[in-house]
Amino acid sequence: MSATLTAPALDGAQVKRASRLPRLLSLTSVAVAVGLAVSMLVESNTVMSLLTQAVIYAVFALGLGFLLKQNGMVSFGHALFFGLSGYLVGVGASLTGSVGTVVVLTIAGIGFFAFALALVIVRVPGIAFGMLTLAIGQSFYVLVSKSRGVTGGADGMSIEFPPRVFGLEIGAFQDPASMFLISWLALVALVLALSLLLGTRFGPLTEAIRENEERVRFIGFRTLLPRAVVFAISAMVTAVGGALSALYTGFVSPESLHWSVSGTVLIMVVLGGSRTLWGPAVGAVVYYLFRDYVGEHTTHWMGIFGVSLIAVIVLWPAGIAGGVMHAVERIKRGSGRHA
């Protein structure tokens, strides 16, 4: 893979890339500042805990959205990586005291597992791929529900964390205000890392494979490996979300592997817009806040949510992110004309 990932000698693309970096970094610092501001300005613990969960799911959505953006593939089974990550962290924590190591190993292990899986399944086209991932995810769901012993079967598993994790007190992970910041920084770091990755040749390559896989081979690239790598990265990002969730809630249940979780996150992805990296994350936050608001005011939240979902999808084909980008472009063009 390293051959594909290292950039060739300085060429036009690299010059462009070089000008991208400062922009990316300044955007990143803005994002970090926003996170800090939110965690300091929001006083209500209720809101904070809602936001924390939203950000954790935003990490999940980021992973799923990455797969959709770069591979053009829909997975209905990503909850597998989310839930499995939680279980592995939980089981690991009960076996050893060093949760930091466990988390890192879990994410790496899931990446490896997803990579191997992808080598077999990425050949399946279109929506059938979605159904296949659904089948694989559901199989694990059934297995975990049926199992006894450590995982607690259908009742779920409570995780006993040691007092310190990653050098922080475990309380920091379980208190909404601090956990919000931790998750937020993780989210920002992941978005940054992924956009840097897409700035290399890996970005256009995977995009081209998405568009026309056969032709990519005729311009001299193998296609299986990059697709599997996209899948693995997407699974790893999702696994980060799973680990954060386990740290925050101290509890995992088989339901976190259920396909409907993947379906919900897919809604977040499309709501936010999958053409940008950050769109799905925005979708997740909007989804959470909206759901909470509607759920509070009526028992008909399903119907209202369904109608709003349809409305948003119909009105903003490219999701919220698409709408924002469009608006930004307009403003830019408008001011350009004045100048």
């Binding site: 060739p8 256009p204 568009e211 056969e214 032709r215 081979r217 005729f218 311009i219 001299g220």
Partner: protein, 236 residues
């Protein structure tokens, strides 16, 4: 071994179920040669290109690139060894910007310059457009441009002029000549535009129902009675 051919096919056969589309076709192309490949519709020309480029498995025969047996190699290896092709049914990356896809095509090949190819084929003004937003003829040229990147040693072109306006196909013909003469690129040119084929080919091969019908210099082929009857018609 007296001479190394840029590309040599020995007794290639390809079948689609019951249809034998290529039946023991042999061909040798010298470095810097432009070889025309003509024949009636369904003669097996595209199939031959598919077999040479590794897109379709062969039932018999072997393919050699600069003396090396590449029959067992896949599409990607063949391309990296310098065997490149275009498609009769346009095959591009519809949702990508043209500049980006050309750059990608160039990135795997040392010293390849995407901008130059785009300029030569008049695509530079589209660099920032998405490929599905340009006209059909421009898409056809993009398909060819993707194959030209990095000046491959052997170019297999499947009806590159189809869908191009007269000026564009003249320009492309000149460009192919230049590639062959100055850069020693060998070209296998499948084309139904007789003016172009007879105009730039060094020699011409004629296929009919999967078999070799004739081979020779353009003038010989033009005079060949069977070719005239089966293929050329009034274009002779």
């Amino acid at each position: 071994m007296t001479m190394t051919y840029a590309l040599e096919a020995k007794g290639l056969s390809v079948r689609y179920g019951g249809v034998t589309a290529n039946d023991g076709v042999s061909m040798r192309i010298a470095p810097g040669e432009i070889r025309g490949l003509i024949g009636p519709n369904g003669a097996g020309k595209s199939t031959f290109i598919d077999a040479l480029s590794g897109r379709r498995a062969t039932a018999a025969g072997s393919v050699h690139l600069a003396g090396r047996d590449i029959t067992a190699l896949g599409v990607v290896e063949r391309r990296l060894l310098g065997l490149s092709r275009s498609f009769q049914r346009t095959s591009i990356f519809p949702g990508m910007r043209i500049g980006a896809q050309m750059e990608l095509a160039a990135s795997k090949i040392p010293d390849a310059d995407a901008d130059e190819v785009m300029r030569e084929l008049g695509l530079d003004r589209f660099a920032d457009r998405h490929a599905n937003e340009i006209g059909y003829g421009d898409q056809r040229r993009l398909d060819i441009a993707l194959a030209l990147v990095g000046r491959p040693s052997v170019l297999l072109l499947d009806e590159p002029m189809a869908g191009l306006s007269i000026e564009e196909s003249m320009k492309l013909a000149r460009h192919l000549r230049e590639l062959a003469r100055h850069w020693g690129v060998s070209v296998l040119l499948v084309e139904h535009d007789m003016e172009v084929v007879f105009g730039i080919s060094d020699s011409i091969t004629v296929l009919e129902t999967g078999k070799l019908l004739a081979e020779g210099a353009p003038a010989e082929i033009r005079a060949h009675p069977k070719v005239r009857e089966a293929y050329l018609g009034s274009a002779a």
